[in-house]
Symmetry: C2
Subunit: 323 residues, 2 copies
């Protein structure tokens, strides 16, 4: 008997990634196919099963020796029923994905949404190693969050806990993609930063920034960061203001959830030097004094494999009876 082998599945609107790996987060085999949600849920499920079998075989693991399959699902999972829905896959609504995959592969399944799965991965393999209470946030197209408290995922009553991107930080503030006003996401998500940068370039007639405005009226974050590093004052200011808004959002999360550490993925990983100091500074000004202990706000340590590690982490946590 060697180390147990786990399978991981990361299901998103664009691609499906399957891995075989070990409980300590080492990936042995990996395969990726497009999701092709437009073909309907049945075809997607059958493509997932094929992919998992392929990875299992290529890792030379028999059905009986797969300890657990972890599934990181890119959309809500009802914790009472396990049913999965996704706004990004047509017709993907109330799918009992866990049972379907468990039956097809004869493996126990640990399934959760991608924010919670990411939090478990950060807890087991990333910046949260050795801690008991952490929050994990994404700072990309959307701002999402997952909470691990006392070593377990905090899901809430309907599996929606950690919706930090739509916490209101400015009543009657800037319009958010959700149609409401003043959400954190309206100030600190990738698209929000890109739109604010273009607004600022126009308002300030910034001849360095204006040529970077794209066809949808945005300055891509990558270019904005590049200009900021080259010393463009508007680019720096836009990023510092987004970081300040993020600082308020993270402080709000800390006040409600009281974690030891907050790890932020996506933009905080790619542009951490331009954001994290200011995020920490603003957040501490808002929770310090009120609450004991300084809580580090850091870039996620999971890197580009975050989706695969998230899936593996669910399986690993299931195996050891935690999270």
């Amino acid at each position: 008997m060697g180390e147990p082998v786990l399978l991981g599945l990361d299901l998103g609107g664009t691609k499906i990634s399957a891995v075989a790996g070990t409980p300590d987060g080492r990936i042995i085999r990996k395969a990726v196919v497009p999701t092709r949600g437009e073909e309907g849920p049945e075809r997607v499920v059958s493509r997932i099963i094929d992919l998992l079998r392929l990875v299992r075989e290529s890792a030379q693991v028999s059905a009986a020796s797969v300890a657990v399959l972890g599934v990181s699902h890119g959309g809500p999972v009802d914790p009472r029923t396990g049913l999965c829905s996704s706004p990004n896959i047509p017709g993907w609504r109330d799918i009992d994905l866990g049972s379907l995959l468990g039956d097809a592969l004869s493996s126990p399944v640990a399934l959760d949404n991608d924010a919670n799965a990411g939090a478990v991965a950060e807890f087991l393999y990333g910046a949260g190693r050795g801690l008991r209470h952490i929050c994990y946030m994404t700072m990309g197209t959307g701002i999402g969050g997952g909470i691990v408290s006392d070593g377990r995922v905090f899901r809430g009553a309907f599996g929606m806990a950690g919706e930090i991107g739509h916490v209101t930080i400015v009543r009657d503030g800037r319009e958010c993609s959700c149609g409401r006003r003043g959400c954190l996401q309206a100030y600190a998500s990738g698209p929000a930063i890109e739109a604010i940068a273009a607004e600022r370039a126009a308002a300030d007639h910034d001849t360095e920034l204006l040529p970077l405005v794209d066809s949808v009226g945005r300055i891509p974050c990558e270019k904005l960061c590049e200009l900021a590093r080259q010393g463009n004052a508007n680019a720096r200011a836009v990023l510092q203001e987004a970081a300040a808004a993020m600082g308020t959002g993270v402080a709000n999360l800390i006040k409600v959830v009281d974690p030891e550490l907050v790890a932020i993925g996506t933009l905080a990983v790619r542009a951490g030097d331009l954001l994290l100091d200011r995020i920490n500074e603003v957040a501490y000004a808002e929770y310090g004094g009120l609450m004991p202990e300084r809580r580090p706000i850091v870039a996620s340590e999971l890197g580009d494999d975050v989706g695969d590690l998230a899936a593996l982490a669910l399986a690993a946590a299931h195996l050891e009876g935690s999270a």
Copy 2:
């Protein structure tokens, strides 16, 4: 063997209340003395022990038959060590109150801060009966919160979870008593409402409201509610605006914690008719669509005995191994 008898202790900055009661929240005996914190922690602890012995004897319960002592502590409790501190009792810092009382009374002790204890009471005896995930909020001098998730108190890493009063709802907004800006508490606590009412009375030269402004420049909530019920438009508007801010604050809590129900004490109990509809309306506009299920936001059902029931509830939850 009859029903087990529990002791409850509610320790605040002004008074100490001790009760004997039953696990279903029936109070058999009660005694209250002033805290007199200025006499120092040792005297306060000895007064607490005397009071608990008195109540125990008057309820004719021998030491051996007290099942559990529940302690609702009006200040932070470190969940890692059980040490208690209170800003309202001089020198009351890192006191191991649980051990001191357990030794003196030879009883098991269940101790928590008053917000968490209130949440457990609401969960066992109040509006949360039969549910698994609830939040309890106070709306008085301060705005505090306690969280029960899946039948257990959610404490966070340092016992500070649920600090909802200081969640920022308006960045750079109105000054809060904590020295920061834009906290929920700066818009919806009792003192905030009273100050805003006086400001509005002055700005609008309201001859009904102006005579009610007291020596510290506030219109007491009780009088404000009375005028609102009599149809004064400014009084109604001030309360509706406070309710709207509270709606945003509760929605923020719901987005992070995902409870089935939120119960609000103090002002929401005394003036629920003037506040709760608007709180629900604004909150639902902010979380509905984003999250499934309508979550009732209701007045606490605990009434004036909330402190005693909070202490008893901790004991009852300990007895049944929950919370």
